[in-house]
């Protein structure tokens, strides 16, 4: 009787433990988080293995200093007394002050320059926003540019979160592939041209197997552009190897899927 009770209790305990452990894995789509997640990008950069992280940190520190300065300028009355009473701030200064104060009121808002971007990215990878500006020499409205920037950041964050890689790890991988992927420029921007490539990786980041998930689409008539894009994506992955993968957690990332989608880039 006692033995059965022990069996029963231990079995139940195991089942509860299994349920607790397995439940998070069953959640495939996490809750769509608000843009506040983008703050994570800065904090995680302390640990990241991306070479441009120190630069990002410098920018962050600079911003923090600016914030502090605003406080010190406003708080002590002595500082105010030093100013000439008849001195009217120049319009530029006024603008700057306004911006800084706004920042203090809303600490979650991130300056556009904080967005993580490597030297490599800056030189070799053309930002969608830059393309928009370059393609349109008539200068389209800056609000549109802001919109697309925001959209991109959110999608990246969401994707990394769902993937199981940390933001830094996903960013490192993404940044590496950005550099290797030469986007064919003749592609139509209004087609659905998502290429999904499944990779089986070795521990050193080299590829042991690669597979285009919709490979049958490549040989369909009228899918010439899809074929060109798929080939370019596959070329990028091969050129890039060994991929910049985390040093630990091989089981987590030995199978990985890369979704190549140039639509935002081509639209500009």
């Amino acid at each position: 009787m006692t033995r059965s009770l022990i069996y029963s209790l231990s079995f139940h305990a195991v089942m509860i433990l299994l349920t607790v452990l397995s439940l998070p894995f069953m959640i495939r789509q996490p809750v769509d988080l608000p843009p506040i997640i983008s703050v994570e990008l800065i904090q995680i950069s302390d640990k990241t293995n991306i070479p441009f992280a120190p630069k990002a940190r410098k920018v962050i520190e600079k911003v923090k200093k600016e914030e502090k300065r605003v406080v010190s300028e406003q708080a002590p009355p002595a500082a105010k007394a030093k100013e000439k009473p008849d001195r009217i701030p120049l319009p530029k200064e006024q603008d700057q002050k306004k911006k800084l104060i706004k920042k203090k009121q809303n600490p979650e808002e991130i300056k556009p320059e904080i967005r993580q971007a490597s030297e490599f990215e800056k030189k070799e990878i053309i930002d969608t926003n830059q393309i928009a500006a370059l393609i349109d020499k008539a200068k389209e409205e800056s609000t549109k540019v802001e919109k697309s920037k925001k959209k991109l950041t959110q999608s990246s964050v969401k994707n990394s979160f769902a993937s199981g890689l940390t933001l830094s790890e996903a960013d490192a991988l993404r940044a590496q592939i950005f550099g290797c992927w030469t986007v064919p420029l003749g592609l139509p921007y209004d087609d659905d041209l998502l290429v999904r490539i499944k990779l089986e990786l070795k521990q050193d980041g080299t590829i042991s197997k690669s597979e285009i998930l919709d490979h049958e689409r490549m040989n369909r008539p009228g899918q010439k552009f899809y074929k060109i894009l798929a080939e370019s994506a596959l070329r990028a992955v091969r050129i890039c190897q060994p991929l910049r993968v985390p040093q630990t957690g091989y089981e987590k990332w030995k199978d990985i899927q890369l979704n190549f989608n140039p639509t935002e880039m081509l639209k500009g």
Partner: protein
């Protein structure tokens, strides 16, 4: 019992540790030109000599034309041949991909040629260096004197395979060749390959000529010339050299262009200070009036499907761009920006209309969608106009006048091309000053 329990527990643990597939979105890449190695074509030692064709050097010559074509697109970066480590004949049979990867090549072109029995046989292969596989392999047989065209055709095939767009290398450009001072300018019709080679003059320069345009088969050219001191639209057969005046109009006709099927010519006819758009059927010679307005309607251009016409008109006060159905109904203004808009030309893809814009004393070449949205100005200068599309709708060719001489007393007119993204602006090589270019369709379809 115990064992079964342990095994079950272990199995469940193992099952639950399986991770979900990691997905990473790649939404950006680089727009650097694709590094491509164009190996010289291997010349078969059994090749005979043929007239003035330099057989031994032909492999080098063809590969250098292919290279030059690729470099001009701005999309490819042909690698320096000095870095090539594999001989052309071996590379053509089986490239050592690791060697080509070392010099950062992503694509490799190899080939060989043989001249025998007065025939030139060329074969070429395009290799994906990263994937270690062949992407395309083709062979051509032609007369040896056609070797330049073969080089252009090879370029077109590779371009299409790597970008998904049709090429534009096996094409010609017709333009007005200009010589002499501004007051006594001699203007002749000239035709050349798109890379500036093989220039031929089609008229003698006795009469002023303007705005030449190809028909879809590239056999006929319509242009404006003077007949009894009156500008009239002409038709010229390039092969036979036969010219004729188009239609029996009492006044001046100008700005001619062929319809997409090549059966009609659309042009402007001016009378008493008013000009309207007319078409003339080339078979039946029937003339049809398309617009009927008291304003100046000119520079008509058909959409590629022939259903619509774009033109410029000053009916709203200032010169702007309009579109209408091909029967003249449903006229709609599409340009609303500051300045004057003129010379609209519908893209062969059908999505964009190229135009010249004049604003603040400067001339711009730009594009907009056919509904007037998405206006983009690609290039700006003191004087430039007359855009014409490459057959794949990727590039525009136009002409630009710039001041020359120490004090800026003279001027030169040159042809320029620009990508629709606003990149890769470059001057086209011409023997003389040049204006009013028109790009042919692909010669080999």
């Amino acid at each position: 019992m115990k064992k079964i329990f342990y095994i079950l527990t272990l199995f469940l643990f193992k099952f639950n540790i399986a991770y979900s597939l990691i997905e990473v979105d790649i939404t950006r890449g680089n727009l650097d030109p694709l590094p491509i190695a164009v190996s010289p074509l291997h010349v078969d030692p059994q090749s005979n000599n043929y007239q003035d064709v330099k057989t031994k050097e032909l492999g080098e010559l063809i590969s250098s034309i292919v290279e030059k074509n690729f470099r001009s697109t701005g999309l490819f970066n042909p690698l320096n041949k000095d870095a090539f480590v594999q001989k052309p004949d071996i590379a053509h049979l089986k490239p050592r991909f690791e060697d080509w990867r070392l010099i950062t090549a992503q694509a490799l072109v190899t080939g060989k040629l043989l001249i025998k029995d007065e025939k030139l046989k060329i074969e070429f292969r395009l290799w994906d260096v990263a994937a270690n596989k062949e992407m395309i392999a083709l062979a051509f047989t032609t007369t040896p004197s056609n070797w330049r065209r073969v080089a252009h055709i090879i370029s077109d095939k590779i371009y299409e395979r790597l970008t998904g767009e049709t090429g534009y290398f096996d094409t010609r450009i017709i333009y007005v060749s200009e010589t002499g001072p501004r007051t006594q300018r001699i203007k002749k019709l000239a035709i050349m390959d798109q890379d500036g080679e093989n220039t031929k003059y089609l008229t003698l320069g006795n009469e002023l000529v303007l705005t030449p345009r190809f028909n879809p088969t590239n056999q006929l050219v319509t242009y404006l010339s003077y007949f009894r001191n009156l500008p009239r639209v002409y038709l010229l057969d390039i092969e036979t050299g036969i010219q004729e005046v188009v239609g029996n109009f009492p006044g001046m006709t100008f700005a001619p262009r062929f319809s997409p099927d090549g059966k009609k010519i659309i042009m402007s006819f001016a009378e008493d200070g008013n000009s309207d758009i007319y078409t003339m059927d080339l078979e039946s010679r029937l003339v049809e009036r398309i617009t009927e307005d008291s304003s100046i309607d000119t520079s008509p251009s058909y959409s590629p499907d022939g259903k619509y016409i774009t033109f410029n008109s000053d009916r709203s006060g200032l010169q702007q761009i309009y579109i209408m159905k091909s029967d003249g109904s449903g006229v709609k203004r599409i340009s609303f920006g500051d300045g004057l808009y003129g010379t609209p030309v519908w893209s062969p893809r059908g999505d964009l209309i190229a135009f010249t814009k004049v604003r603040g004393g400067k001339f711009y070449i730009g594009v907009m969608r056919s509904d007037g949205s998405g206006e983009r100005l690609l290039t700006e200068n003191f004087y430039q106009e007359a855009p014409s599309w490459s057959p794949n709708g990727r590039l525009l060719v136009f002409y630009r006048e710039t001041k020359s001489g120490k004090k800026g007393e003279g001027f030169t007119a040159r042809l320029w091309s620009i990508d629709i993204t606003g990149y890769n602006e470059r001057e086209l090589k011409t023997e003389t000053d040049a204006s009013d270019p028109s790009w042919s369709s692909l010669l080999s379809k």
